[in-house]
Symmetry: D2
């Protein structure tokens, strides 16, 4: 942290700043330039200090040099983190595809979709049992009934399951059924839920908030990681901008940027990222080319009858087309598609 004083700040003001720094248990290094004084802070400044120092008389700006996230940073952990779940490896180089319906609606819808995405090459099954909805008047998910259907689909197909947790009270419940717990975009700064997920027994998929910066996203990961957990997957799903022709603006540069700043794997969700089914294939290919560790794709047997997000879901046929095209792109950037685990006939998980 560096404190830049105003032009013409007094010796008394400079000394007061230095004293404030020393009071915080740190060392202050004052250097006077031709125009103004600059005070370097040595040690590990408490992040709160910035606000405090900026309010002192004579201070022009306080510049933060270090990135505020720590546990999620590559400086802290230079090697890639690899997440392992039900025979699938995420972040180890292969491209993982998580596919399935936005919401679990009923047994037939889920099982048929699970079979279709497995047949097309998906490695993980997605599906929402608890649905965050902007309007209280919309379908909000089947709850535990939906979780049971997901577990049934896993047993049949062998695909591990990822599903969202919306409430701190449901963490244990969802962890009993699912293989990966998803934190949704609207809860990315639900700090109580982040803390609970840090204590959960399963890996976490952390979606980027609706208008979260990369920095805030990695700080949210730090909330989880500080509980000793290492199994966190990040998911870019589009950010809010002024553009209205797409539902969100899909920020694909987040993929290589996260790879540079962090050791955590990062996947891309072009379904939410664009909100338009006819853009999903192109953006899935682009994400693979950008080095994404995986894709999350919404698939529905009959998108025009979906109870949520129908306009961004692919039909079975279109998902199959996508999978046929994404393999060659992954190969072109030196990666291969992850293989789906084999369904064990008598596979059982603790309920």
């Amino acid at each position: 942290m560096i404190v830049v004083m105003r032009k013409g700040s007094s010796q008394k003001e400079i000394e007061a700043v230095a004293q404030h720094i020393r009071d915080a248990g740190l060392r202050a290094s004052v250097s006077k330039g031709e125009e103004r004084a600059v005070i370097g802070i040595l040690g590990s400044p408490y992040p709160e200090l910035k606000d405090a120092l900026e309010a002192l008389p004579g201070v022009d700006q306080v510049l933060v040099v270090s990135r505020p996230f720590k546990l999620a940073s590559r400086e802290f952990h230079p090697d890639d983190t690899v997440v392992k779940v039900g025979g699938v490896t995420i972040g180890g180089g292969d491209v993982v595809v998580m596919a399935g319906p936005c919401s679990v609606e009923n047994r037939e819808q889920l099982l048929s979709t699970a079979r279709a995405v497995k047949a097309a090459g998906a490695t993980i099954l997605r599906g929402g049992a608890f649905k965050p909805r902007t309007s209280p008047y919309k379908f909000r998910g089947l709850g535990e009934e939906g979780l049971k259907l997901l577990a049934e689909a896993r047993e049949e197909t062998g695909l591990p399951v990822v599903t969202e947790v919306m409430s701190e009270r449901d963490v244990e419940l969802v962890a009993r059924y699912a293989d990966i717990l998803q934190l949704g975009a609207r809860n990315m700064q639900n700090f109580v839920l982040l803390d609970e997920l840090g204590k959960a027994s399963k890996p976490i998929l952390l979606k980027r908030g609706l208008s979260a910066t990369i920095e805030e996203w990695l700080l949210a990961a730090d909330y989880i990681l500080q509980h000793g957990k290492s199994q966190v997957i990040l998911c870019e799903r589009g950010i809010r901008t002024y553009e209205t022709y797409t539902r969100n603006t899909f920020d694909l540069s987040a993929i290589p940027l996260v790879h540079k700043l962090s050791h955590l794997p990062v996947i891309a969700d072009p379904s939410h990222g664009t909100g338009k089914w006819y853009l999903v294939q192109s953006m899935a290919l682009a994400a693979a080319a950008a080095g994404a560790d995986g894709l999350m794709i919404e698939v529905h047997p009959s998108p025009d009858h979906a109870l949520s997000d129908g306009s961004q879901s692919l039909t079975f046929e279109n998902f199959k087309l996508l999978m046929e095209k994404v393999g060659p792109v992954a190969a072109a950037v030196g990666r291969k598609m992850a293989r789906a685990p084999v369904a064990a006939p008598a596979r059982r998980r603790a309920r």
Copy 2:
């Protein structure tokens, strides 16, 4: 809801859309223009229908005519809602000032601030016991200890207390101590918490989300209102934009817009809205001129030593100056400042 078909859509496609509408229990009114067909939907369409219809072949756009929020809308409830709490009335015409520290740090800090803001004319005491923090490494509040200090400050000064709830598990706890429960910006779409707050015994202060539209904000109010509660206060606190010279962009046009669209009272928080203490007074005056039902202002005995948000907090002296100036502006737009309740010597609240 109106379905606009593509140019050249076939009769079969038009009929499929109409059938889909009828399947949903509604009536379809097809009218064919020179260029394209348009299908009006009569009845109360399930909002989900938009997504479903947009995915049908031949459909160009589905236009939503009605605002999706209902209970918060002025159409639903033409008269202004008035919130009453501890002898103070919010939304009844007078300008209410909620002031106090960002975080409750200790007894001395809180009590001195409570006395100072009361002396300057504030009507409600604010202060955080549970603090949402972007970084897990920052001060996160005193918890119940902070709530007790807030209750103590209320007993001494008579000022009702508003404080934030971050967890569904804490709703009852906070409601035992506080007079108004605040839902913070980062939790505006924490739908589980919204539902819990709808069942709470105290009025709710609902802050606008970091990048929430007015529509989403009013839908969040609907989440609370659908549980039968009517005592909800909205609070504009700035939205996220590309501008970096201010912490947020303070969207003051939200004040008259909410008054037009909704019956709920709306206050303004220029401390978070700007993030800079030297902008707070101007923006407080602007908010009063725009018709805000109240102001929420951060005040700290020594902002440069605050454990949170020091750079946006006012000193006692600057808060006093603000209060002296805001009265004449309120008067200029035909309003008067709300009076603080008198502290009862033996005032007691259920714990």
Copy 3:
């Protein structure tokens, strides 16, 4: 400018950075902290240097300490700039109101509006003869014919005229007729036009760009000021955000912020700032309370028949109401409304 090296950067890398700085004719002051080295730059670094230094090996960040704008800054010119035009003073403390139609449509429309706004207390007449339009299929203004009508309206009413220049080729033409030349939001970074306006004989009204930062806006002012001109007025007119219930998000905090950072007067345009006529009065009052040096308001004899921006224009009656309300608010913040100049019977200006 301060160069922050990476943790573990080599002595050779540090020296290369220092040499680069010295090659640019500046002095480098290297100080090694416990974690990393920091290199201060003494002298007046060429702004380009930031990009160059950031690309050097071992460099983590280059922090810019000084604001990049100079001539528009209050550090450069501590006293308020006062713009004088046709007997009206802008920036001297009084609140100036510029009012009139979005576009000059015909003689009757313009003259009746000029009379009405003058009668209600406006001090300057606005009206567009050259109109920037997002769509090439919309009305683009009367051109010189419109300028002549504006001059005629000025002669009758005595109100000085402000109107937009869209092309470098029209600067002289418009300057022959108008008293203040307006640069529109979409041209705020039309650097060739900025240069031309810097050479013009009349004061410039510089609107903030559609998504311009405060910093870019003041840099645009520097483009004009570097030609020796001092008579520049800034105008906040709303910025682009994700919110769709208003046309723009009216950034009123820009008013006190510009007053702090710059010596130039700054006015507010609530018509474009909100895009909704029913929000204009509230936002005009808010702007006056925030300390704006003036207001720019669109008025039309029959807004629902306007050829442009009808939905944000006030009727004569609504403008009169606004003027009656804005005076008391200005008085409440210690200002008074500027008086309109008296029309000289035989008033003539050089053509």
Copy 4:
């Protein structure tokens, strides 16, 4: 265009709206629903009409059904437009790479870069002779001297040249030297310049504005196309958002979206799109996978000494690496890289 009346609007109000529509030479089709009346407009409504109708009593909303852009739309021109320049074809299926320095700085810098990008497989040479700069204190380009150097580089390498025009006065000058005239992001709504470019003899490269919607971008194309020109190339170069870790947010979904909405070719500029050289390769590969008709890449012999945009420029070596990787990605999506034209020994162009 569809007019939606308010609940409870009177018959008189409905009739006034219908009359307004008929006054505009169009036909009105009134249909009364259970809750409210809706009035369809038949014919080709003047776009201005929306504003006018929205201001009428009893009107709730006016919904625009058609996209406002016409000449750029795929409905107007179903087949892909192919731009041909100097032996290179853009929009015909092959991926074109435009590469070179941000600014032309001197002969040696430009020629060495031209040779290097040609050797690596680029098909068109880019370089700025007139530079738009946010700050007036930065390097603003060599002007005509830069154009001459570009022409010299073309003669030696055979690469056609694309360069920016900043002023309506320079259109002819630049067209004498360059093969493609570029309109920069900051001038995308400089409507006078758009009109001039519509009359120019060379193809136009139209960059998306800093915060332009897709709709505004295509309307800007319409400004050019309405002069009878068909040779327009669109270029996505990132949009402004709240994220600060990248210079802009690179909106890659614009590539497939433009292909759907328009017949014009669209290329991607990852250098400006990200502002960070270490993100350029990943985003170039992503753009190719998304179906971009070309790439625009900044290359500099020594990026850390560049007079502009050094931090986003690639070295020769990194550009070579990028070109080696982009071919396989293009092939994976069924495209091939465009070949560079052969330099004719005595090649001459009209000056």
